[in-house]
Amino acid sequence: MASAIDPRYLIVFLITLVLVLGEARYGILGGYDRLATTLGICLITEIALSWWIRGRVANLASAYITGISLALLTKPQANILWPFALGAFLAIASKYVLTYRGRHLWNPSNFAIALMVLVASDSVAILSHQWGNDLRINLIIWTFGLVIAWRAKVLHVTLAYVACFIVLALIRNAIVGGPLLAELAPITGPMYQLFVFFMVTDPRTTVSTRRGRIIVVAIVALVEALMRLAGDFQLPLLRPFYVSPPILALALVGPIAMWWDLWRTARRPDGQTART
């Protein structure tokens, strides 16, 4: 039965679809060495750390998703591979090191890409490729993405974020002026596809209640909007953040929300997670 399929495998299918479509049509990887490096190090790191720390090899679906995400999102200076290798290691290692009450706090690929963009902006940018800015490809991915998000029971997260983005875009437009479509435009792009289907919905790094998840993505969207306003008003101190507002907003908000959720759950008398 389809409903019995582990949601991770639905996500594996979706990200593989994104990879195959994008590479076949637009060469989005920029070289198979990048994919091999990222995916290889993600898988090796996952195997090594899970065996070393937990005494068993973890399911590799998560590492696969992280590896593909990083290979697609990381766009470094020409012909350097270390951001892929280091990003892959950082992403997987964060799952084992940056934990609280046995749970990791950051979405792995979000952590790695945010860290590199903030610390290594001389070498790394996010997603220079835009997959041809092609409506047809994007419609295919959005359609599959929404269906899979629904089957994986995270559609409310995706839709809540999109709704918040649109409302906040209208508000930003009222503040800064200019063409409204320019404010709405980002959400039509591929970076947001990766963001809304693979990062912000990651079941392992979202809070335990449905309402909580909606509140968290609303806060992520709000922080992102503030970063975008910083970009519009050219606040120099915040320049590192407005190169990639959604990724960095999630990197800031996500772990705080996770920590608070785990702390709050632990304080309950029954100590149980109210995951829905």
Partner: protein, 568 residues
């Protein structure tokens, strides 16, 4: 924490090679004013419908090309301006270290007029084989062909030649694609040709993709029929790319004896059109088709003295936002049917790079590289990068309409960037010696050309800057090695010998160059070829003329310019 430290350390290496002080053996002095060159480019003004992004659209047109209008063997310079009423300049070499602007008397100054369009580039070639170099001006508007009458004046022969076409072109290249001894003309299209920037009917004029756009102006190939007439043969020869071509260059890349075309396309992959014996062109894959960037200029050089035409194409890099990186493509067409892209470090990341040219600035036998950078220098405290990033990831039909672009206002966009002087150290790669060389300007560079302006056996560098003064970098004392210069005169081939392929053997290497019909970004080098030799003497000199005839010379004197006429 260790991970963060690792990222910081690796990131710190992103700047590329450090400059060893002992290696900084290139010295250039900026001497434009002293030489009497006071040209200042002016960008075009456009229809108010696109006023909000006019600085972005109109930041083009500062061109320089090298010529010798009176055959005195002293290079002259032609600069284009791009605003209605602004004059182009033709600087005649006075042979005493100075130049005099004779554009007005020559009739090549007043080309920027309402209803006719504005200049965006210029290339020189003797299309009628009368011994005097003629001028083709690429325009946003009606293209122009001006015939050199040989008496210091030019006549506009555009209409008679069949070239009066409205295009939004930023470049052209002369080549003799069918080897009939007559120079043909390839004109690149950037914006669509139905767009009149001063009477816009629609604001849907922009690219529909940042990566694979095909809605640019159509490139056109005009065959020279002789008797001053040209015929549009674009479709029958299959070279009508609509990929927003900003620059083109021609050489025989695959060594089959026929000149090919290499295109640098904005918002798309580069294109190599291989010439099939003058009957048609075939778009080669050559490893280019998936590597979509923002090609701005294409220049040809034998980077490692292998006897091959390698290619350098400029692109965009901006920290945090975009790393496209320049491409240095090493030619392996004969072995692998492809180029290998090897750019890294300072070669890859020069900023928002525009024009570039290869040339041996220190006569050490290796071709160095000069790259002009910077797009829009306005308010240094404001950047348009964030605003542009909002639409860059969107669906194409949003940003295809200029109305949906955020206003640029007074913001800069990769402004105040410095030019690069990349010294070739052979197997040790390139090192940026711009600062040490004396190249410190931060103007918005566009066209770069090289010529031995003062006939001293040393290449000088000319840079045309957008909305700013032109710069002449005079080679100081860096060209200490030996050299030879070759001025080729065609007989069966076109008189300019454009497309002639020359290989000079020296030491235990050989270097190959091609006579330039236009290269870089809206620029053209001196047609006289300059070979630095280091401490070696020239060995054999192999010339393959555009007609196909091959000639071998030996015993050429070192440190001299040789005028070689094609054997009848």
């Amino acid at each position: 924490m260790a991970a963060v430290v690792a990222v910081v350390i690796l990131n710190g290496r992103a700047g590329g090679s450090a400059v060893p002080s002992a290696a900084a053996s290139i010295r250039l002095h900026e001497v434009a004013s002293a030489t009497g060159i006071d040209f200042v480019h002016q960008s075009p003004t456009l229809d108010p419908k696109v006023q909000h992004i006019a600085p972005h659209i109109a930041a083009l047109g500062a061109c320089v090309s090298v010529t010798d209008i009176n055959n005195d063997n002293w290079p002259d310079l032609y600069f284009t301006s791009s605003r209605f009423g602004a004059a182009n300049a033709l600087y005649l070499n006075q042979k005493d270290g100075t130049f005099r602007n004779v554009a007005g008397q020559a009739g090549v100054a007043a080309l920027n007029r309402a209803g006719e369009g504005v200049s965006m580039g210029a290339v020189w070639g003797d299309y009628d084989n009368d011994g005097f170099e003629d001028l083709f001006v690429s325009k946003w508007g009606y293209q122009q062909l001006l015939r050199n009458l040989g008496n210091g004046t030019f006549a506009d022969v555009t209409a008679a030649a069949g070239l009066r076409r409205w295009m939004n072109s930023n470049g052209a290249v002369w080549l003799d694609f069918d080897r009939d001894g007559l120079l043909d003309l390839y004109v690149t299209g950037y914006f669509r040709s139905d767009i009149d920037f001063w009477n816009l009917r629609s604001t849907r004029i922009m690219q529909h993709s940042w990566e694979f756009a095909t809605n640019g102006g159509k490139n056109l190939l005009f065959k020279n029929l002789g008797l001053g007439r040209f015929q549009d043969v674009t479709d029958s020869l299959g070279v009508g790319s609509t990929r927003w071509t900003l620059a083109a260059a021609s050489a025989d890349f695959n060594d089959d004896g026929w000149p090919d075309l290499y295109l640098a396309n904005d918002y798309g992959p580069e294109e190599l059109y291989l010439n099939k014996e003058g009957r048609r062109f075939e778009l080669a894959r050559a490893g280019l088709q998936d590597d979509s960037k923002s090609g701005m200029a294409v220049t040809i050089g034998d980077v490692y003295n292998r006897g091959r035409h390698d290619v350098f194409v400029t692109n965009i890099s901006e920290k945090g936002f975009l790393f496209q990186g320049n491409n240095l493509r090493v030619n392996f067409l004969k072995e692998l049917d492809r180029f290998d892209e090897i750019a890294s470090g300072v070669v890859a990341d020069a900023g928002w790079a525009w024009g570039a040219q290869f040339g041996d600035l220190n006569n050490d036998g290796l071709l160095d590289l000069v790259v002009a950078n910077g797009f829009i220098s306005a308010d240094s405290t404001r950047s348009y990068w964030y605003a542009m990033s909002k639409i860059a990831g969107a669906q194409g039909n949003i940003f295809e309409d200029a109305r949906n672009w955020p206003a640029i206002g007074k913001a800069s966009l990769s402004g105040f960037e410095r030019s690069r002087v990349l010294m070739n150290r052979g197997a040790d790669g390139f090192v940026d010696v711009a600062e040490e060389s004396g190249v410190t300007d931060r103007l918005d560079g566009r066209a770069v050309a090289m010529a031995d302006l003062f006939n001293r056996g040393a290449l000088d560098v000319i840079i045309a800057n957008e909305n700013a003064r032109a710069l002449i970098y005079r080679n100081a004392d860096s060209a200490r090695g030996h050299w030879i210069g070759l001025k080729l005169v065609g007989s069966r081939s076109n008189r300019s010998a454009i497309g002639a392929d020359v290989t000079v053997e020296f030491g235990n290497v050989r270097q190959r160059q091609v006579v330039d019909g236009g290269s870089g970004f809206c620029s053209q080098n001196d047609r006289r070829l300059h070979f630095g030799l280091g401490m070696a003497r020239p060995g054999r000199v192999l010339i393959r003329w555009p007609s196909g005839r091959e000639q071998t010379l030996e015993g050429l004197k070192v440190d001299e310019l040789h005028v070689i006429t094609e054997p009848a």
